[in-house]
Every structure is written in structure tokens, then in C-alpha cells.
């Protein structure tokens, strides 16, 4: 009883929100012709409401696989995971999350507005609600006025913003992002990172963000999950001491550099057994 109470208050003190994603001893093994591949092994992690969690690690550390398990795109072979207190499948059916892929994946035959409207049409929103939401989320990603343009008329960064708008359109509380800015150049990336923080502050969403970039992870996150490969596992979980409001030049402060160091150490530790 006392323990449970401590745990509960601990959680509340921790970040002031309930658990949105909770994984316990999660494992996923792919059977391949070269034998089993342990994409995830005994991964346990809690993500609380309103957190911005980055997953960072080298290729093959299972960070994308972990995100895909949350999204019910992969099935774990052992352990348990809940999303919004339900199974990932139920969460997917309830449209509890928006997923942003590495490529924007906009349909060339639909306008930007039409692409953002796509999930709304699929989910059966009425016409008025569709129009209102498309307008709102396009403003949120600063693409107002581009509704009638076709994807090929937009730059790569703008396309990716449109794909984020599409993931936001149906009011899911969770945003899962799989290296959304991985294919963009540094300057566009900085700009989109700033916008993403702004958007996170405005919408209060819980964000899980997979990245290869240490500065990106440290700049964006309230919690950084460092992962290591073979088998994919969590090497370190770092709670960021940085404030929630972050101008770009926060990256030159000693606190930022210290967190970046710790991430780098975590990544190196994961590689020691290579």
C-alpha cells in the first residue's frame, strides 16, 4: 500500500502526468535466414503525458522497432506494452496516435489540403469539420495558403511539415515520429526543430521521437533514451535539466553540452562490446 502510494506520488512528482506509454520487459526477435535477430531485448520504459522523449542510438539498436511496436506495426515476442492504458492495437483502432515517417509520403494526386484531409476522410469526419481542421493544422505548421498546392510544388522541408500537419489533424494525443527530419539539410532541420518545440508547447502532446542526431535529441527532449544494438536495449535514460522553453542558442550553454556529453558517453558504452 505504502509502496504503491510512493510509486504513484513518485510518478506524479516525476513529471506531473499519467503514464501514456508503459513497456515492461519488452522483447522482439525477428526470425531471419541467418538466425534470430534480437531487435529488442527486455526493454522497460514509461512515457508520461506531455513528455518529449527522444530515442537515439546507432542503426540496429531497435529504436524504430520500439516506435513501431507502440504503433502496432510490429508485434513484440515477449513482455507487455500499453498505450493510453490499452494494447497498442486498441490504441491504433482508437486512432490514439499520429505517426510521422521519415519520408513525407504525400499522395502526388492530392493537394496539400487533400493530403491533410486524407486521414479525416478515412475516419469519417464531416465536411465542415474536415475543412476547419485542415485549416487549423496547416496554420500550426505555418503552411497556411498552401492548401491548394500540389506536393511537387513544395520543398522537402515543407512537405515534411505537411506530413506532420496530417498526423496532427485528427487530434491524437500522442505523436510518434520516426526520424522525420533525417533526410533534410541542417538549416531546414534547425528551423523545423524550433517549430516542432513550438507546436509541442501549443498542443500539449506527448511526443516520441527517433533520431540519429545528438544535438537534435538534446535540443528537443525532456527525456532522452539512449539505445545500443545487438541486442537492442536501453543503455541510459537521461532526464533533461533544460527548461521547456528553448531558444536555438540554448545549444551553447554548459547544461546543454553536459547533457550532450552524457548521451555521447551512453552511445559509446553501448559500443564497447563490439
Amino acid at each position: 500500500m505504502v509502496n504503491a502510494l510512493q510509486e504513484a506520488t513518485g510518478d506524479l512528482l516525476h513529471l506531473g502526468g499519467p503514464k501514456v506509454i508503459s513497456a515492461k520487459d519488452l522483447s522482439l526477435t525477428f526470425q531471419t535466414n541467418d538466425g534470430p535477430v534480437h531487435a529488442l531485448k527486455d526493454v522497460s520504459l514509461d512515457v508520461h503525458k506531455g513528455e518529449f522523449v527522444s530515442f537515439i542510438g546507432p542503426s540496429g539498436c531497435g529504436k524504430t522497432t520500439f516506435l513501431r511496436v507502440m504503433a502496432d506495426l510490429e508485434q513484440p515476442t515477449a513482455g507487455t506494452i500499453t498505450v493510453n492504458g490499452t494494447s497498442p492495437e486498441e490504441a491504433r483502432r482508437a486512432r490514439a496516435y499520429g505517426y510521422v515517417f521519415q519520408a513525407a509520403g504525400l499522395y502526388p494526386w492530392r493537394t496539400i489540403g487533400g493530403n491533410v484531409r486524407l486521414p479525416l476522410e478515412i475516419m469519417g469526419y464531416d465536411k465542415a469539420a474536415q475543412a476547419e481542421r485542415v485549416k487549423r493544422v496547416l496554420e500550426l505548421v505555418e503552411l497556411a495558403g498552401f492548401e491548394k498546392k500540389f506536393p511537387w510544388q513544395l520543398s522537402g522541408g515543407m512537405q515534411q511539415r505537411a506530413s506532420i500537419a496530417r498526423a496532427l489533424a485528427f487530434d491524437a494525443d500522442i505523436l510518434l515520429m520516426d526520424e522525420p527530419f533525417g533526410a533534410l539539410d541542417e538549416i531546414v532541420r534547425d528551423h523545423l526543430n524550433e517549430q516542432l518545440l513550438q507546436l509541442w508547447a501549443n498542443t500539449q502532446k506527448t511526443i516520441c521521437f527517433v533520431t540519429h542526431s545528438i544535438p537534435e535529441a538534446v535540443y528537443l527532449s525532456t527525456k532522452i533514451v539512449v539505445m545500443s544494438p545487438r541486442p537492442g536495449r536501453i543503455a541510459d535514460v537521461i532526464d533533461s535539466p533544460l527548461p521547456r522553453t528553448r531558444p536555438l542558442d540554448i545549444r551553447d550553454t554548459p547544461e546543454f553540452i553536459e547533457v550532450a556529453h552524457r548521451v555521447r558517453d551512453g552511445l559509446r558504452a553501448g559500443h564497447e562490446d563490439d
Binding site: 505517426y99 515517417f101 478515412i122
Partner: protein, 290 residues
């Protein structure tokens, strides 16, 4: 202008070869006639004869051209452009069977492709049958189709269209299976995250994605349809259609008539493929896929 010269060169070469071949192939008959008449032919007389025989082995281009004009343009000028002696009439008869067969073939091909993409049993079993169906010579199976359909009281346009369909569904199946499977794993994952139904995935993603493949298949399919329709006109002793003209021409050794029907069929095929090409360009440009 830059494109015109090579085209004209090729056309001129074809005409030169054609006229030359006409001399070579028709010369024995010209000499035969001269021997029987007891006259000696000079070279220019020989050439003139080989290019103007009534039933040549290979008619010269201008003979075919004159025949085509006589059965098309000249008849239009006389106000009988659609009489039963006109090639327009025969082309129309063949075209209507081709168009119906093409439509049926496209529907059948698309339905089979959907079945193959969505149903594992069909995926594993249908394709070998589809391929086997195309290994049977159409000329062998066409009379069977006509006889069987006639026995159940179906005659006229439909049996020809069925043969047409038999040839045209194949490229559509092959192209549409590939097209409906063309969305990437990422795109399919994406609609899954929206919890889209199978029908929604089909209408919103798979079908639009397949359009470039569909049009390529349709171009092959319409040409195959025309072949099917013409072959379908051969065994029935049909009195109308380009196939009937070919058959009648071969009965009576009217090679000029055969060649004019052949060229008309080629022009019809070019026209139909061209129209599909235009629809393709327009559609794909509108879809941002061209």
C-alpha cells in the same frame, strides 16, 4: 523539322523496299503472260506490269492506296461513306467488337488483379491459369467460342467481343497486379496507423497508385483486342468487318483488298492506342504522376 527528316528517310526506305519486292515477286507472272502472248518485255515494261497487275502476289503501294481511297474517301464524296462496300463500315463493325471486348477485358483483368492482390488462394493459383490461357493459339480457340456461344443462342457482336476480351484481359491482369502492389511498405503502414479498412486502402491508395501501370496495360490490351476481333471474324464467315474483308480477299485472291484491309486495321490500332495515350497523358498529369 529536325524530327521530320529521319521519319521521311524511314518511310522512303520502306516504299523503296516495297516497290522493289513487288517487282521481284510479281515478275514471274508478268514474264509468264508475255511468253504466252509471244512478246518480249523490256525492263521498263516488266516493271510497269509488276506494279499494275490485277491480282499481284504483292500489290504496289499506289495500288493499295488507290483501293483504300476507292473504298473510303471516294465513297464519302459520293455520299455513301457508310455503305457495306466501304472500309469505314467494315472498320466500324470491327471497332465495335474491339471496344466491347476491350471494355470486358479491362473489367475482367482488373477484377482478377484485385482477387490476386487481396486473396492469398487466388494469388497462389490464378496466375498460372492466366498464363496458360495465353499459350493457346487464339485461332484454335476462336471457332470453339463462337460455336459454343451460338449453341446457347448468343451470336452477333458478343462472341467476337469475347474473343477480343480473351486476348486483352491478360496485359491488364499483369499490369494491375503490379500496380495495385506498387504502394510502398511505408504507405501501407501509414494507412494502417489511421486504421483504414481494406476498401479504403484500395480506393484511397492502391487504385490511384496503379494508374500508370493500368494505362501501359491498356495500350497493349487495345491492340490485342483488335487482333481478337479480327480473328473472331474469320471462322464465322462473317460478311462485315475487317476480318471478313481479309477472308473474302483471300478466297478470291484479291491481294489488293487484303492489303488495304490490313493497312486499315493498322491505322485503326494506331488511332486507338493514340487516344489511350492522350487520356493517359491528361490523367497522369492531373494526378501529378507524369
Amino acid at each position: 523539322m529536325r524530327n521530320l527528316l529521319p521519319i521521311l528517310t524511314v518511310v522512303a526506305t520502306i516504299f523503296a523496299l516495297w516497290y522493289g519486292a513487288a517487282i521481284a515477286l510479281n515478275a514471274p507472272w508478268a514474264k509468264d503472260k508475255a511468253t504466252r502472248a509471244g512478246v518480249e518485255l523490256s525492263f521498263s515494261e516488266l516493271v510497269a506490269d509488276t506494279w499494275s497487275q490485277k491480282k499481284p502476289k504483292l500489290p504496289a503501294p499506289h495500288q493499295v492506296g488507290a483501293e483504300i481511297w476507292k473504298t473510303t474517301g471516294a465513297m464519302v464524296l459520293k455520299g455513301r461513306g457508310f455503305s457495306k462496300r466501304s472500309l469505314f463500315y467494315h472498320s466500324w463493325v470491327t471497332f465495335s467488337a474491339t471496344a466491347l471486348g476491350f471494355l470486358l477485358g479491362t473489367i475482367l483483368g482488373t477484377l482478377l488483379a484485385i482477387g490476386i492482390v487481396y486473396n492469398r488462394t487466388m494469388d497462389m493459383s490464378v496466375m498460372p491459369w492466366v498464363i496458360a490461357s495465353q499459350t493457346i493459339p487464339i485461332i484454335a480457340i476462336a471457332p470453339m467460342i463462337i460455336v459454343v456461344l451460338n449453341a446457347v443462342g448468343i451470336s452477333g457482336l458478343l462472341p467476337k467481343a469475347m474473343i477480343s476480351m480473351y486476348l486483352s484481359f491478360f496485359p491488364v491482369v499483369v499490369g494491375m497486379v503490379k500496380g495495385l502492389r506498387s504502394p510502398s511498405a511505408m504507405q501501407l503502414d501509414q494507412v494502417r496507423t489511421w486504421n483504414a479498412s481494406a476498401a479504403q486502402t484500395f480506393w484511397y491508395l492502391r487504385l490511384p497508385s496503379s494508374m500508370p501501370y493500368l494505362f501501359t496495360s491498356l495500350k497493349i490490351g487495345i491492340a490485342a483486342s483488335l487482333v481478337g476481333a479480327i480473328v473472331g471474324e474469320l471462322p464465322t464467315g462473317a460478311v462485315a468487318g475487317l476480318g471478313a474483308r481479309l477472308l473474302a480477299g483471300s478466297y478470291y485472291g484479291q491481294t489488293i483488298q487484303i492489303w488495304s484491309a490490313l493497312l486499315m486495321a493498322a491505322a485503326l490500332a494506331a488511332l486507338m492506342v493514340g487516344i489511350i495515350g492522350m487520356v493517359q497523358r491528361y490523367t497522369l498529369r492531373r494526378m501529378g504522376m507524369a
